[in-house]
Symmetry: C2
Subunit: 200 residues, 2 copies
Amino acid sequence: MSLREKKKTETKNKIFEVSGRLFKEKGFEKTTVDEITKEAGIAKGTFFNYFSTKEALLLYFGEQKEELIYGLIENETMKGIPTKEKITNFLVFLAESVEKDKELTKLMVFEYTRYMVHSYLGPCEDKCRLHRLTETLFGLLDEGVKVGDVKTSLDVYKASEIITGVYLHSLIMWLNSEDKISFSNEISGKIDMLFEGIGV
Amino acid sequence: MSLREKKKTETKNKIFEVSGRLFKEKGFEKTTVDEITKEAGIAKGTFFNYFSTKEALLLYFGEQKEELIYGLIENETMKGIPTKEKITNFLVFLAESVEKDKELTKLMVFEYTRYMVHSYLGPCEDKCRLHRLTETLFGLLDEGVKVGDVKTSLDVYKASEIITGVYLHSLIMWLNSEDKISFSNEISGKIDMLFEGIGV
DNA sequence: GGTCAAATGTGACCACAGTCATAAATATAA
DNA sequence: TTATATTTATGACTGTGGTCACATTTGACC
């Protein structure tokens, strides 16, 4: 690693570290880029060499966290249990990890939306968090069809989209709630209903 | 109506009208408050007497549209058809009305999220668009239980939340898509699946 | 270690949302 | 009509995110 690269990652890490501390202390909105750069010992312009906007920094936080989560999931003991339980465990795990920092999650959902709206950032690639979730669910359901846990006639992709939607909505409701409800409980209840169906 | 009130609504309408035109011409982001006020023939400060932020104006657009939609729905010919069809018709109608102006919808979804995040605006009252949708669905499903279209054992509220989630997710996917998919088609397909269930 | 090109750093500067003390317009009371 | 209170309008001003022309540092090649 060249000196340049070393300094680069050093600076990026410094920004990450300082802003993380400041966000926890005073929140995202009330932390200014000026503060971050001052504390990090760099010029304001430098900040924007690393993150195109203040919000991009937030997305970076999200990415870091996401990598951790999906990494953990693949190492989970998810063998030999029914598909419904696999999916429930997976989503509950996601929910629990999100429940740990409600404020950060709020901000990230918000930024994700902004990202979506301002599509000059290019169409959905890995930026689309929801796609990743849908793909993972697709994998689980597809296996379920083979095993016989799930209707063979099922449009598996549509089903994974539905589950993603239910997850997203529960997340949003939880973010809006005054904390009386448990996100992870909500989720598992709804998965049950999805598997049974609504009609008679 | 006093002179004051008359002038007030006049000014508000002027802002509404001018900004509507400008948003269509140049988009929301590129339209500045200065422009709006200049064209409306008022001072900048006056704008903020009517809308606390530039974004509040966007929400106002949304509210206006929503009133129209829900108004129409109650007058619809929705008598005597099965619950599943009622729900499908309702959501397809919503979807179609949203499909008419994708950009505005994007912005509104975005602002709705912002509204949610910055909860110093007070907790969810009528601001919660999703709640209204869930309540409407609840009404339809509840009737369905009585009529026998829907499982009697069903947790009706949970089911309406699920449907809301599916609607929301389809909306978001459609907003992100490059226009090849039809939002309203997506929705009706997914309602079918919800009624049948995923499990064997 | 001298020279050039490319990458990175810098901070004065700008655009724009939002504020606030003050002025103008309107209502109320006499 | 005059005097006073209340509501609404005004625009200079401020704070902050983001830009850009220029300075500095680094790496490659001789």
